[in-house]
Amino acid sequence: MHRTKVKVIEDALDANTTIANANRDDFDRHSVTVVNLMSAPGAGKTTLLQRVLKDMKGVRVGVVEGDVQGSLDADRLAHLHIPVVQINTDSGFGGECHLDANMVRSALRSLPLDEIDLLIIENVGNLVCPAEFKVGEDIRIMVASVTEGEDKPVKYPLMFRACELVIVNKVDLLPYLDFDLELFNHHLDGVHPDVPRMFVSAKTGEGMEGLRDWFVELASKRTAGAAN
């Protein structure tokens, strides 16, 4: 017996990327724009969706809900009468802390992609892991809430870098908190200079109109592209 060194030089997440690309091909074929919505637990992703998806001005929306257990989030969106698929990640060892491309692939079978313009994938609440696993999305949005503290961008830089939009939620609570918005912006600027950001309250509705318009425009870009 002797040892041989074998050169590999391969991204360890290649398998995930391959499946993410397959998802992407399916989304492209059906002209679906896909958003990967990420945040810490409790930042208000589902409340945000409940509010913003009420009137999407003709854009047909579908949602994939990722949670370790249960269907509470999917149930909360039932009143919107849109296609919602719940993925539970608890079949793994203690429950995976993120969605990966394969989990999303398994949800595609239950989604009428031909009837969806904009698919929002609500990832498992977590500030580290979802950033590592692409699922075939066009856009990543990071939701940060002001109750989490202004230092989060520098503590979890990967999440705040791996996104094209940062939504700061719960701004109605600012008068009651020590949260320093200027310092948050400063930290965010250091980690992801010039990333677009929106300041909203899913509870009071502040900023919701702007976010809705942003989603509608995002979906119409794809539709316009497909028509050409």
């Binding site: 041989t4 030089i9 391969e10 360890a12 997440l13 892991c129 520098v154 830089p157 992801h192």
Partner: protein, 119 residues
């Protein structure tokens, strides 16, 4: 927690290249900008490799420093704090030259000298 998934991904990549041969060492490059905890990765690697051709294999992690380049003034620097704005001209458009790797570089496998198809 995602070190469990990452360990499984390393194992799958290593096994693919081992062609059934027992694996003794797996060398992985981990960029400093990845949020990977080396101790946690080693722990889970041991867990996921039990009962596989990788069982008992040593996981060698090489941490790759972060290197950034400003797209405006073209200066390069190694950030020690997670800041991605150019310290020379304050431009925000920065290219990551290294530090985002998560790559299996090589494996060391046991060869059976009498086997006809050794590589």
């Amino acid at each position: 927690m995602h070190e469990l998934s990452l360990s499984s991904a390393i194992l799958a990549t290593a096994e693919k290249h081992a062609a059934g041969r027992p694996i003794r060492v797996v060398t992985v490059h981990v960029g400093k900008l990845r949020q990977v905890v080396p101790d946690s990765l080693s722990f889970y690697f041991e867990v996921v490799t039990r009962g596989t051709p990788c069982e008992g294999a040593k996981l060698e992690l090489e941490i790759i420093p972060a290197l950034l380049r400003c797209e405006s003034c073209e200066n390069e620097w190694e950030p020690d704090f997670p800041t991605f704005r150019c310290p020379f001209c304050v431009n925000g458009k920065v290219k990551v030259l290294s530090g985002e790797e998560f790559q299996v570089e090589s494996i060391e496998v046991e060869e059976d000298e009498h086997a006809p198809n050794q590589g």
